[in-house]
């Protein structure tokens, strides 16, 4: 087994540890555990990054060098990485362990799915010609940072309907964090769609082909645009906003997984 697989395995175990540390903190509420948790999150992020970098180097050694953003496995790993990245960026704004717990649990799920599911090809694969472009990096990175921000928004949306006394922050706070994460996710998704369109213009001959993935990303974009308008123009808050963020995330999940599994299209070769 290649070294990067081992390192990513360690990262997966660390995500599990992060999850348990959160549970521990939420049950005993000792501040020290929380700081240990954050140190572990940083450590996990470093190991995870190392795993990605080693995979990258390995691909060059195998003479088909490309960034590890080129197949479903790599996208899952990168999705998990982006969630942690967004957590770290938003750390100051989300000092609520229950949110970080849910977010890192989703990283754990993605990592676990990536390394355990029999249907996921884990080896480094050569990059097919259509993906050999510099647009690949920016397109995939922006899309996944957007998805990661929407994960946070979704977590807030769901927690809104969960009444765990003393663990879940107040409804206004959830609403605020939800909105903030969408203000990160929405511009990122827009950027992802734009870069995708420019790339498609060079690779497929048209900036917009109504390919199912494109269409679903547009649907997702519209839902989050509605989210922002409902909030800023109509003044919707809390309950209805939480509902939209859940609908939006369902659409994200469908854009990411559903389209690949159910519908066929130009994107079918990868992510």
């Amino acid at each position: 087994m290649a070294i990067h697989h081992k390192i990513l395995g360690v990262a997966t175990l660390l995500y599990l540890l992060v999850f348990f540390l959160h549970v521990l903190y939420l049950s005993v509420k000792k501040e020290r555990i929380l700081s240990v948790t954050w140190i572990t999150i940083y450590g996990t992020f470093c190991i995870h990054t190392l795993g990605l970098v080693l995979r990258w180097i390995e691909s060059y050694r195998m003479d088909m060098g490309h960034v590890p953003l080129a197949n479903f496995y790599e996208s899952l790993i990168f999705f998990a990485w982006s969630i942690t990245l967004v957590l770290i960026i938003m750390r100051r704004r989300i000092p609520y362990p229950v949110i970080t717990m849910c977010a890192s649990a989703s990283s754990l799920f993605l990592m676990g799915y990536a390394s355990l599911s029999p249907s996921v090809e884990r080896n480094i694969q050569p990059l097919i010609p259509a993906l050999q472009s510099n647009w690949l990096h920016i397109h995939v990175i922006t899309c996944f940072v957007a998805y990661a921000a929407f994960v946070i928004s979704f977590v807030c949306g769901v927690l809104y309907f969960v009444g765990w006394e003393g663990i879940v922050p107040s409804k206004e706070t959830l609403d605020d964090i939800n909105y903030r994460s969408v203000t990160i996710g929405f511009p990122m998704l827009s950027l992802g769609i734009l870069t995708g369109a420019v790339w498609a213009h060079y690779a497929w001959g048209s900036y917009w082909s109504w390919d199912p993935k494109e269409t679903w990303s547009l649907i997702t974009w519209i839902i989050y645009a509605l989210f922002l308008h409902a909030r800023l123009v109509r003044g919707w808050r809390e309950r209805r906003i939480a509902l939209i963020s859940i609908i939006g995330f369902v659409s994200v999940v469908f854009t990411y997984f559903g389209v690949n599994i159910i519908l066929s299209g130009l994107h079918s070769y990868a992510i």
């Binding site: 010609p129 050999q132 734009l194 048209s206 509605l226």
Partner: protein, 405 residues
């Protein structure tokens, strides 16, 4: 907003039902009645259906009106920035009294970051990040620009493809869409060379066509086209899309060596023939080709088999025709398109990036200053990022205080 939701809903149909396929394909999946409904509503080509375009136009119009209405409101509001009275300022969430500090001096400190919007008697209104309030308009305008570009492409652009064997020249392309119509390219396109590079694992790494553009019998441009690296000539863009190989049949017809591809018509005196269908294996006899020809004006077909002597050489219309060899010749599949809307769409993209930045990463803040008997009343408000502004405001008040001592 309602219109936008409708568009989202309509797009869902478009992804669920396969687009632009032939009626036979639909009938294989759906019942006849369902198909009639589908084609009546244009759901087999939903994104070009009149109702979908009408929906988009409706959306564009409502976007224009909303934007204009809000812009008018903004201009009015900008002209109407006034300094509220003390009672209202002291009720604001963020306010503080600063003692022993003059109005002018405070303005002097604040104008490092803020701009004076209004000076009014014993007070002033300062603001920062006014641009951010225009972000929404930039975004909305750029969406309109992108839509306009999209329509321009829909109206004046086309998409199609050309397949070329090595050495072959064509000056027409096949348009994509339901009817396989043709269209002149406006120049001739010749494939000089085509090659595929493979990874050690055998998967294709790269495919490259070297093509020449010929106008008036002269080569005006030569370029290698790869995936992700198209050729652009007078607004027409040519993309490497696919590749494959097609059989070439080497015949000897009445003493003349001829190479024919499938469906290529050969004519010589009374003889008219065309290789109609290639089969890689006919029973145990190996590869063969069905040749269609005219027998005194009546269409007939006969099999030529490479591996069977009796069928390799036959006489058609008194001419001796023999199949010498069947070779696989690679061809390149090029996608051709012209879209005059692209520059507009790119402009829209650039604008929307600017708009997104302005809207989401700058924010508008306002500070009110009013001289009151207790000293100076400082109040602030922000439209977004209120938590951050609260911190900024507290620091600011401290700073104003700090200058006293």
């Amino acid at each position: 907003m309602l219109v936008l939701s409708l568009i989202a809903l309509a797009s869902v149909f478009g992804t669920v039902i396969k687009q632009g396929a032939s009626p036979e394909e639909y009938l294989a999946v759906y019942s006849e009645r369902t198909y009639r409904i589908i084609s009546l509503l244009g759901l087999d080509d939903a994104y070009r259906a009149p109702w979908f375009i009408a929906l988009v136009l409706l959306f564009a119009m409502s976007l224009v009106f909303c934007t204009l209405r809000r812009l008018a409101l903004f201009v009015k509001e900008k002209r109407g920035i006034r300094l509220p009275g003390e009672d209202r300022l002291s009720k604001m969430e963020l306010h503080a009294y600063v003692r022993g500090k003059g109005l002018e001096e405070t303005i002097g400190i604040l104008t490092r970051d803020y701009r004076i919007a209004v000076r009014q008697g014993q007070g002033a209104v300062l603001e920062r990040g006014r641009l951010s309030r225009y972000g929404v308009f930039i975004i909305h305008t750029s969406i309109l620009v992108i839509l306009a570009g999209g329509f321009a492409g829909l109206l004046f652009g086309y998409r199609g493809f050309v397949t070329l064997g090595i050495g072959e020249t064509k000056d027409r392309l096949t348009l994509s869409g339901k009817e396989s119509a043709e269209r002149p390219l406006g120049f001739a396109l010749r494939c000089k060379d085509f090659r595929v590079n493979h990874y050690p694992t055998g998967e294709p790494k790269d495919y490259v066509s070297t093509v020449e553009i010929i106008e008036k019998e002269k080569v005006v441009l030569e370029k290698e086209i790869r995936v992700n690296d198209p050729l652009s000539y007078k607004g027409t863009r040519i993309y490497q899309s696919t590749y494959g190989s097609a059989p070439v049949f080497l015949f000897n017809i009445g003493g003349e060596e001829v190479a024919l591809t499938e469906r290529e018509i050969f004519r010589k005196k009374d003889l008219l023939l065309m290789p109609a269908r290639f089969e890689n294996r006919i029973h145990d006899f190996g590869p063969g080709v069905l040749v269609a020809y005219l027998d005194n004006g009546e269409p007939k077909a006969v099999w030529f088999l490479k591996g069977v002597d009796r069928l390799r050489e036959q006489t058609l219309q008194g001419v001796k025709v023999s199949l010498n060899d069947i070779r696989e010749q690679p061809y390149t599949g090029l996608e051709v398109s012209e879209d005059p809307g692209v520059p507009m769409v790119w402009t829209g993209f650039a604008l929307i990036l600017l708009g997104l930045y302005v809207n989401f990463f700058l924010h508008y803040r306002r500070i009110y200053l009013l001289t009151v008997p207790e000293g100076l009343l400082v109040a602030g408000m922000a439209l977004k990022n209120r938590e951050d502004f609260k911190r900024e405001f507290e620091k600011m008040v401290e700073e104003i205080h700090g200058h006293t001592s």
